[in-house]
């Protein structure tokens, strides 16, 4: 039996971020913005702490629990946005969203050759395989939805 779909979902990079999540922990709030995320279907829970100074994400930390996809996604996300300016963060969030709405077909056609915008995503592109598992998309997007809320809150302060 071919387990290729599974391999797409559980790429080494995802398992690595799941086993060794980056930016785990809490930050004092305030000054950090604290936002909770929840995926009622799976029970994934996330608490995100975000510090924005002079329009730049200077620190980000997270606690919570969830499946490998939600955990890896939040870890990958934290690495992708830490140190970035808010417009850069917006761009990453936009690219991630596009990736999650890619049709399974277009992914297959490109095979291992990720399309240009995927490559520009860096490590985050490892999450592209999730779109083959529609129920797991919510796991992957939880961290990003929570980030969007935190960014909005930080910007309104």
């Amino acid at each position: 039996m071919t387990m290729s779909n599974l391999d797409d979902l559980y790429r080494e990079i995802i398992l690595d971020h799941y086993r060794t999540p980056r930016n785990r922990g809490e930050l004092e709030s305030p000054p950090a913005v604290r936002v909770e995320g929840f995926n009622p279907l799976c029970g994934d829970e996330l608490v995100l702490y975000l510090v924005v100074e002079d329009g730049v994400v200077t620190n980000i930390k997270m606690t919570g629990h969830g499946c490998s996809i939600s955990q890896a996604s939040s870890s990958l996300m934290s690495v992708a946005v830490k140190g970035k300016s808010l417009p850069e963060v917006e761009t990453v969030m936009e690219r991630f969203k596009e990736m999650m709405t890619l049709k399974e077909r277009s992914l297959d056609e490109n095979g291992e050759e990720a399309p240009l915008d995927l490559r520009s995503l860096g490590e985050i592109a490892a999450l592209a395989g999730v779109v083959k598992f529609p129920v797991r998309i919510k796991c992957a997007t939880l961290a990003w939805k929570t980030l969007a809320e935190a960014v909005a809150e930080a910007s309104s302060n």
């Binding site: 039996m1 071919t2 387990m3 779909n5 599974l6 979902l9 559980y10 398992l15 799941y18 279907l41 799976c42 029970g43 829970e45 629990h65 969830g66 499946c67 490998s68 996809i69 955990q71 598992f133 797991r136 796991c139």
Partner: protein, 417 residues
């Protein structure tokens, strides 16, 4: 079937052959259905009873005079008799109310009987292992009446902790407990609990959603007062459930949902409710579904509930033993380790692998297990878990299902090692 089949005392292969879903191939593998605690797979006889109903007998029930309306009414009322017989209702069909599921049955219990009989300070005692269906309606009733909802703790042995039960019973008007936990598999001592409740002047309700399909149920012998269950967990169709109570209790329960069918008269200034089960069956009922439920009961009676229970018991003993042996502790079963007073529900906690990932990997092997909190969040909290991956047996389950489960769990363990 390629893998070696250990034969149990019960010919579940015939049941499997009767079950169309078992022909499904998923991800290149035959279906290994281990989610019967969530919903069961109906045999061909049930599916055909529903089709036949729509093809030959469909009409609205009651008040019909024409031939097919009478046939539909007979099918519908016949199911009431079949249910009464199946659970040994002392008062017969007149004690059987059709609802749309266990959940609606508990809402009926709380919002009709409960609202009429419970006052501020009265206690409804449930357990920590209850499904939300036997918790949330009581919380809702608490909002309107000020009753207290109290919980029997669950011990580290995954069984009800009854050490302090006499103190817990103080002020209790209703004890409401599940026949079998849908997470732990624990079978509760219903006869003993019924006696306890009655000794304290309380009534005793049973959530039969799990136990109805896996054990014989005799409400008279157990001396219980209320029973709720769903057709879809006992090889029957979705959209249909049962609420049973003794005739005297039913007679005094006020109406629940209002509408056609449940009335004796409606004037512009008020209405008079009907009597009997009809009072609680507002609107056009789930008619085709009752044809399916009758067929499911016939089918289960054909198997014999004792045989079903014995078969699933053997499967459980075997699975508990092999899971322990194969994974030496890396796969933990959340539930009694010993198969006595325990049904075929195996909630798995795989070290280092989240239940969702377990279920995802198992799906590649065609194995259906359910990850999540199984609508029993207080119980999950009790054991410090967010979720488990739950495998559960039905009458069509075979030890070969456990083979595939173990093979697939091996992959999950090694992928995440």
């Amino acid at each position: 079937m390629a893998r070696g089949e250990r034969v149990t005392s019960f010919d579940a292969r015939a049941v499997r052959a009767d079950t169309p879903m078992m022909k499904r191939v998923v991800n290149g593998r035959p279906l290994t259905y281990l989610d019967s605690a969530s919903s069961s797979l109906p045999p061909r006889a049930v599916i055909e009873a529903i089709s036949r109903y729509y093809e030959l007998h469909h009409a609205n029930v009651h008040r019909g005079v024409y031939t097919t309306a009478n046939e539909a009414t007979e099918i519908f009322e016949g199911a009431r008799v079949a249910v009464a017989d199946f659970i040994h209702a002392p008062g017969g069909a007149e004690e059987v109310v059709f609802t749309h599921g266990t959940t609606e049955s508990f809402n009926l219990l709380a919002k009709s009987w409960g609202a009429a009989n419970l006052r501020e300070g009265d206690v409804v005692l449930v357990s920590e292992m209850e499904h939300h269906a036997n918790i949330v309606p009581w919380f809702q009733l608490r909002e309107t009446t000020g009753i207290e909802v109290r919980f029997i703790p669950v011990g580290d042995d995954y069984r009800l902790d009854l050490t302090d039960i006499d103190r817990l019973m103080d002020g209790v008007r209703l004890l409401s407990v599940t026949g079998m936990s849908n997470v732990l598999g624990t079978i509760n001592p219903l006869g003993e609990l019924a006696a306890l409740a009655h000794r304290h002047g309380a009534l005793f309700a049973v959530d039969g959603a799990q136990s109805i399909a896996h054990l014989p149920t005799d409400v008279a012998a157990l001396d219980i007062d209320f029973l709720a269950f769903s057709a879809h967990k006992m090889l029957g169709p979705t959209g249909l459930g049962v609420f049973w109570t003794r005739r005297e209790i039913l007679a005094d329960m006020p109406p629940f949902l209002g509408g056609g069918g449940m009335i004796l008269d409606v004037r512009t200034d008020g209405y008079t409710p009907a009597s009997g089960p009809t009072r609680f069956e507002a609107g056009t009922p789930a008619i085709a579904e009752t044809a399916g439920l009758s067929a499911a009961i016939r089918y289960l009676n054909g198997l014999g509930m004792d045989n079903v229970a014995a078969h699933e018991h053997e499967l459980t003993i075997d699975a508990l033993e092999r899971l322990e042996k194969e994974f030496s502790g890396r796969v933990r079963v959340i539930g009694p380790a010993d198969a006595t007073s325990r049904g075929g529900v195996l909630s798995l906690d795989v070290e280092g692998v989240h239940p969702h990932d377990v279920a995802q990997i198992l799906d590649q092997y065609g194995v259906c297990v359910r990850p999540g909190h199984h609508c029993a969040k207080p119980l999950m909290r009790r054991f410090g878990l967010a979720a488990t991956a739950r495998a559960s047996f039905g009458p069509y389950s075979l030890t070969s299902d456990t083979d595939v489960l173990i093979e697939a769990l091996g992959e999950a363990v090694s992928l995440f090692a």
